[in-house]
Structure formats: structure tokens, C-alpha cells
Amino acid sequence: MARAVTPQRKAINTIAAWIIGLLIFFPILWTILTSFKTEAAAVAFPPQFLNFDWTFENYTTVQERSSYFRHFWNSVVISLGSTVIGLIIAVPAAWAMAFVPGKQTKNVLMWMLSTKMLPPVGVLIPIYLLFRQFGLLDTRTGLVIVLTLMNLPIIVWMLYTYFREIPVDILEAARMDGASLRKEIIYILTPMAVPGIASTLLLNVILSWNEAFWTLNLTAAKAAPLTAFIASYSSPEGLFYAKLSAASTMAIAPILILGWFSQKQLVRGLTFGAVK
């Protein structure tokens, strides 16, 4: 769809788009750079862009002072745990809805997705009380349960949009050739469903990794994942820019790397399959 755009206009648009892109990216870049500065250099005036003494001391300090790796491990366990359990529950459901839709399937799906519209604060109080009673506060188990609950609607919805793209004719052909339900699942459905499951997994790991509301409210020190760990760094003793930058960089590095390699799948996942 070629539209005649004058060269000047195109240049202006291009420049504007680049400026917006850079503006958006700059704070992230600045944080990564700051993480390699000393605290003094981090607030120096005029600001030092690349011409400072690079140091790794922030990273070692952060690790020593608050055992980064423990929080990292918490993040891994919580995000992977909740995603895997969510998938185990959601795959059969999405499969059923995609392949044998009833009159109410669309409504059920919308109803599930609409629970995502509920403000999480609305259920915080009951869940908090329940967790207190069962000793689940500040445990990884508790967080895995909550995040599974919260992300399940999205997981089901995403899988459903992927499963629907699997041609139903193939299943029928397999049935005609005498395949049992079990064989159908193992030899036909699974291979075709793997890409969809993989992107769902990826998106949910990222969502759970970033989750802050529940992790802040339901953990203290023991089970705190990286997000809560960063929050604890920023509050009481004033801002330590360089150290906080190092902590942030370490917390976002896995996400940035994952995100970079899986852009296409993420776009689709983030928009609930609205973008193919």
C-alpha cells in the first residue's frame, strides 16, 4: 500500500520515530551503564556517558549484601512452577474447548478471561487471610498457587487460540484410520501443539517473573523473588543508584534475553492472539 509521502515528511517522521524509540530505550540503557559506575560517578555532574571507570563492585556488593542468587532462584522456581502447573491444568481445557466446542464455549472463555479484569486487590484480603491461616505467607508454594490462579485464564485463552489453528480434518482422518484417542493425542496433536505451548510457556514465565503485586504483598524475606528484592533495595536508606542499577540489571537480564529471541511469539501472546 504505497502512499505518496514527500521526502521531507518522511524524514520528519523517521526522525520523530527514532527519537521516540530512543527516548523509550534510554532509561534502560542508562541504568545498565550506571550499574558499572561507582556511587560517586553515578550522580556526578556533568553526567558521564561512557568515559567513567568501569567497575563490577556493585554486582559483588549486591550479591554479598542480599544474596542475589537466592532471590534469583526464588524467581525461577515461582515463575516456572506456576507456569508448568498452569499448563498442566490448561492444556486439556483448551484442547477440549478448541476441538469440541459447544454452544457455550465462547461464553465460558469470555467468562474466564473476564476474571482477568477483576482487580487483584479485590481478592487480596481473602487470599491473605487464607494464607495466614495455612502458613502459606512468605512461601514459594503460596506464590506458585496464587500466580497459577491469576495466570490460568490467560494460559487457557492463549492455548485455545493456538489449538484452533490445528486443522480439525487431520484429527478426523486419524479417527477414520482407526487411531485411538490416546494415539491421536501422542502422534498428531502433541507435535502440532508444541509451538503454541512453547510460546504460552514463555509469555507466562515472563509475566510471573515480572509479577510484583502478589510477590510484594505475600512475601517478606524468605520467598521473595527478584522483584521484591529490588523493591527492598529502593526504600529505606535513600537511593543507591549504582547498586540499585546493578540489582535491576541482574533482574531484567533474563527477561531482556528471553524477550529478544522470542519477539514474534511474545507480540502474539501479549495481545491474546489478536495479533498473528
Binding site: G21, W30, T31, A93, F99, P120, V123, P126, Q263
Partner: protein, 300 residues
């Protein structure tokens, strides 16, 4: 487009229906649990339950006292107003309009530039809220980037933006964080606008603005509705970013409803009152959804 699976599937698959119903059950149960918790919040909202002390165990029903308090005590209405301002400017004005402008500008370009900017946008989306909050606090603090790089060289005294312009800064931060979603959705919507229709309008002498207003916008109206529905509700109930940036302060300048609820419930300890706030929020969100869904349905 007819979907072959729109009604009951073929007889070849219907043999396994009981199995399939069974398969869907756990997921439905799980989502049901979520609604069950919501019901509890409704029940609590009629009690004087507290977080600590005697009333943590020995609570009683107090009728609609908590709801009366929403309107008679200071806090709720002010907070509602802050939330609406925050939502209107950051979601509707910021994310949606900026997302649309970016989408309609960038769609004329292919290749590396579009890709690069998309990645930049996505990064904001991908960052944990807490990290985004830190980025923005650091950027706008007295020794932060804006003061050092822009205001300092101009000779302006350093400004502590988070103190003096707290609401504006959180709104900006949320625009930064959330524009990607609107952009992606609008991008996809614009790709679906048939080129011939736009060309035809152009041949008929419609200028750029008219083409957008009279041709493109009506075509992508459903997408606009969907996008608005999601971002309005998300922003309305958004907690971590503001909480980590300002904690609702200074004073109560950035105290949106989720933060107000959180403080009343867990700092003050009035869980009954907090539950009433959450039920009120649910009601507001419900009204918004109905409004947007009406908007979506109108012309088919």
C-alpha cells in the same frame, strides 16, 4: 468466514465428549476459586474485620456501615478522582493516542527501523513494574537524568519531579510502560484495513485527516473498543508501578484506589473497609466494561 467448528464438531470427534468435559473441569474449577474469593471480599465488606487485634477473630456484621464510610469519610472520593485522572491521561490520552500515532506512522515503513522501534517499545512492556518504577524515580530525581542532562545545562535549578509533579511523573511512566500494547493492537488493526478503501477515499479528494477520521477509524472501531476496554481496566486497577514510585505520596497526591485500598487494609488494618473499597472498584470496573461492550456492539 465460516468456522467449521462453530457448532458441534463432526461425529468423528463427538465420541470423546465426556473425556473432554472432564478435561475442561480443573481449569473451570480453578477460575471458580477466583470468583469464590471475590465473593468472600463481598462478605467481608459487610463486617468490621480487622487485620490485628480483637476484631481479627471476633468480628461481626455491621451492615452497610463500610459503604457509608466510603462517601462520608475523606479518602475514597479523592482517591477515586486521582484514579480517574491517572487512567484518563495515561491510558486513554497517552497509551491509546500515542500507540495509534506510532502505529499509523510506522506502518508505512518496513524493515530495520520499524523493528528497532518495536523492540524499544516492547522493552518497556517487558520490564518488571518494580524496575520501571526505579528507572523513573532515578530519571526524575534531583540528581537524575532529566536534571543533569536537560535542565542542568540550561541553568535551571534541579527540580525534584517526584515531589513537585508526582502525578504527572507517574502518568508519564505509565505511558512509557504501556504504550506497546496499544501500539501492537492498533498495528494489527491497521494491517487489516483494505488498501483499496483508503485509496478510493484519496481519489475522491479526502485529505489525510479526513481519511483517518472517516475511513480508517470506523473500520478499526472494534479494535479501538477492545483496546480501550483492556487498558482502562488495567490502568484503573494498576498497583505496583505507583506504589513503588511514590507509595501514594507526597501526601495523597498519587493515591489511586488500589493504593488506598492497600493502605486502609494493611497499614490501617481495616479489612472490612478495605473489602468495601474493593467491591466498589469491582462495581466501577463492571460499569466501565458494560459501557465499552455497548460501544463495541452498536453497529455490526
Amino acid at each position: 468466514m465460516r468456522d467449521p467448528r462453530s457448532s458441534w464438531a463432526s461425529p468423528w470427534l463427538s465420541g470423546s465428549i465426556p473425556v473432554l468435559v472432564l478435561a475442561a473441569l480443573p481449569a473451570l474449577l480453578f477460575v471458580g476459586v477466583l470468583l469464590y474469593f471475590t465473593l468472600w471480599a463481598v462478605v467481608f465488606s459487610f463486617t468490621d474485620l480487622e487485620l490485628f487485634g480483637r476484631k481479627a477473630t471476633d468480628w461481626s456484621f455491621v451492615g452497610i456501615e463500610n459503604y457509608e464510610r466510603l462517601f462520608t469519610r475523606r479518602g475514597f472520593l479523592e482517591s477515586l478522582w486521582t484514579t480517574l485522572t491517572f487512567t484518563f491521561f495515561s491510558a486513554i490520552v497517552g497509551q491509546s493516542v500515542l500507540g495509534f500515532l506510532l502505529a499509523s506512522t510506522l506502518r508505512r515503513y518496513r524493515g530495520s527501523m520499524r523493528g528497532t522501534i518495536e523492540v524499544c517499545l516492547m522493552l518497556g512492556w517487558l520490564l518488571p513494574d518494580i524496575v520501571a518504577a526505579f528507572l523513573w524515580s532515578a530519571t526524575t530525581s534531583k540528581t537524575g537524568l532529566v536534571n543533569q542532562v536537560i535542565l542542568g545545562p540550561l541553568g535551571v535549578e534541579p527540580v525534584n519531579f517526584l515531589n513537585d509533579y508526582a502525578l504527572q511523573v507517574v502518568i508519564l511512566a505509565n505511558i512509557w510502560k504501556g504504550t506497546a500494547w496499544s501500539y501492537l493492537l492498533y498495528s494489527a488493526a491497521l494491517d487489516n484495513v483494505p488498501g483499496e478503501v483508503v485509496e478510493a477515499a484519496k481519489v475522491d479528494g479526502a485529505n489525510g485527516w479526513q481519511r483517518t477520521r472517516r475511513v480508517i477509524l470506523p473500520i478499526i472501531k472494534p479494535h479501538i473498543g477492545t483496546n480501550m476496554l483492556f487498558i482502562t481496566i488495567w490502568t484503573f486497577t494498576y498497583f505496583p508501578l505507583i506504589y513503588a514510585m511514590t507509595g501514594g505520596g507526597p501526601g495523597s497526591q498519587t493515591e489511586t484506589l488500589p493504593i488506598f485500598l492497600y493502605q486502609q487494609s494493611f497499614s490501617v488494618g481495616k479489612l472490612g473497609y478495605g473489602s468495601a473499597i474493593s467491591v466498589a472498584m469491582l462495581a466501577i470496573v463492571g460499569v466501565m466494561s458494560i459501557f465499552y461492550l455497548r460501544l463495541l456492539k452498536e453497529p455490526k
